[in-house]
């Protein structure tokens, strides 16, 4: 039941995170990017429309002025009795004039000229209603002017002109192209920028989550420590009384009970040892770091702990000197060596050490019986042991000591092929 509840909680947590992720993508990525794009789009649109209108007005004003000049010129031509055909021939070379027509006061066409075959888009719907208008054609926009003038013979003429707005169109196309390039750039930069922010935020959230988990673990550990210390203390007092009682019994009881009493005393001592180890494992480690030589440390362990018949094959690449708590590190390495020794019987134990970047890598390797994958997974767990008389404290303490030095320890093992412990310590 509890397990099921736990699974549900995990699912709920996953869902909550998944929801947050989607929400964050929307809040930190799409929404600001969309906002910038919309603002840019509208500002650019307004700006472009304003410039286009202004330029169009300027061009049209200029074309109206040109038409005025044209009217004066045509008036002179008419005074000089030039034919309509001759007049139009003068303007045939003008690239910007697509078509022109001369009409009398009754709006009857007297003559006309067009750069395109039969193309003179003069409609009664347009003339008389407005003096200028723009039409679209496959050759681009054409600005049309319909205006009247009086020649020197006092006759009223009307002139119809179609000017090319090709240059204006080109400018618009250029402006549109620049707009899209800029638009694409903003989108591109925006995507990169917000993706970066999103990644950063994600990373921060991950770290925050890790810190929270660590804080909870520490709190839990503290509570368990306090509780178990209290329990150990409560057990230790009656255990001391029991030990004293066995001492008294040993003195007062007949010799025939000596073996039983000794056995009982030994068991009590064993319990006391377990409690001592247990209390020691719960105590927070207070590191007192000194500059130590690994080779020297290994020599001390060899000399003080192992007999002459057990030789540890130690190799190091370069002189390895670093800051660590000598006593605790010595204990950690001793635990590993004892563990290897117990696994090998008459085998070999190799210790290799080297510097790698700013780390010190220590490998403790044996060719003993090895462990199964499941055993390896639990090897550093407290009170886990695959030995008959093991208490499961040694390797747990080793890991605790290495981690207290901000190092890491890993174990790799294969059944029948031996076990290796890899330690990574800072301070290379």
């Amino acid at each position: 039941m509890e397990r099921r509840q736990g699974t549900d909680e995990q699912k709920g947590e996953k869902k909550r995170h998944a929801f947050l992720k989607k929400k964050d993508i929307f809040l930190f990525f799409f929404l600001p990017l969309l906002g910038i794009i919309i603002i840019f789009f509208f500002l650019s649109l307004i700006n472009r429309a304003f410039i286009r209108n202004k330029v169009e007005d300027l061009v049209k004003e200029q074309l109206r002025a040109t038409a005025e000049i044209l009217k004066v010129n045509i008036s002179h031509f008419l005074s000089d009795n030039y034919s309509y055909e001759e007049i139009f021939r003068f303007y045939a070379g003008e690239e910007n004039i697509y078509y022109m027509a001369l009409l009398d006061d009754q709006k009857k066409i007297l003559g006309w000229h067009s750069r395109f075959e039969g193309y003179l888009p003069l409609s009664k719907k347009d003339i008389g209603v407005k003096d200028s208008w723009t039409i679209d054609s496959p050759a681009g926009k054409i600005f049309n002017i319909f205006t009247s003038f009086q020649a020197s013979d006092a006759r009223t003429y009307q002139i119809y002109l179609g000017y090319s707005l090709e240059s204006l169109e080109e400018m618009n196309i250029h402006s549109r192209r620049n707009f899209f390039i800029l638009f694409g750039l903003i989108i591109g930069i925006g995507i990169i920028f917000f993706f970066g922010i999103y990644q950063l935020q994600n990373h921060y959230r991950q770290k925050e989550k890790e810190a929270e988990t660590e804080r909870r673990e520490k709190e839990r550990y503290k509570e368990i420590s306090a509780f178990t210390s209290g329990v150990a203390h409560e057990i230790k007092n009656p255990l001391n009384s029991l030990a004293l009682l066995f001492e008294l019994l040993a003195k007062k009881m007949p010799n025939e009970f000596e073996q039983e009493i000794s056995s009982g005393r030994s068991e009590v001592q064993k319990i006391a040892r377990v409690i001592d180890h247990f209390s020691a494992s719960l105590k927070p480690l207070d590191l007192k770091k000194d500059r130590i030589s690994l080779k020297g440390l290994m020599a001390d362990i060899q000399g003080s702990t192992f007999k002459d018949d057990i030789v540890i094959d130690y190799e190091e690449e370069g002189k390895i000197v670093f800051f660590a708590d000598k006593g605790l590190l010595s204990q950690a390495l001793l635990n590993l060596l004892q563990n290897s020794l117990e696994a090998t019987n008459e085998g070999e134990i190799q210790v290799q050490a080297k510097k790698h970047k700013k780390k010190i890598l220590i490998t403790v390797k044996d060719n003993g019986k090895g462990m199964s994958e499941e055993e390896v997974q639990h090897i550093f767990d407290p009170f886990y042991s695959n030995k008959k008389d093991g208490m499961g404290i040694g390797l747990y303490l080793t890991k605790k000591i290495i981690e207290a030095h901000e190092g890491k320890i890993e174990c790799k093992s294969r059944l029948g092929r031996g076990t290796s412990f890899f330690i990574q310590m800072p301070g290379g």
């Binding site: 007297l110 067009s114 039969g118 003179l120 003069l122 409609s123 719907k125 496959p138 050759a139 169109e169």
Partner: protein, 147 residues
Amino acid sequence: MKQKTNVILGMILLLASLPSFGQKTENFYNVDQEIYIEGKIQNIVMEPRYKENSPFLIITLEEKDTKKLFTVEISPVEFFDQDFHKGEFLIVTGSLTSSGETGNNIIAREVQSKGETFILRDKHGFPTWRGGKGQMSRKGKRKGTRF
């Protein structure tokens, strides 16, 4: 007799020149004069219409109901690659540039034949064979737009 023949010939030439003069001044696509006719092809000729341009395909069309004859200006010959034959049925949308004694002349904007539609000019009369932007001076063989 010879003098009489010359007078008659002169009158015929004068009459023949009248529509050509009218066409010269009014032969533009007048958007206010758009008409739609259906009829049979009576004759197909190629003749110059505008200065500095290749000959145009000109079709004489007999209107289906009134049996009136219309001269339909299609496009430059090199632009139009569809084969027309006498007696074929044609639907034409275009601008009536002259009518009556001077002849019924049409500048075609859209021609439908055998289920195909050929767009020759836009709604303002801009010739399709003159292309769009960047194709203003392009010449050569081009096909009409088919649907």
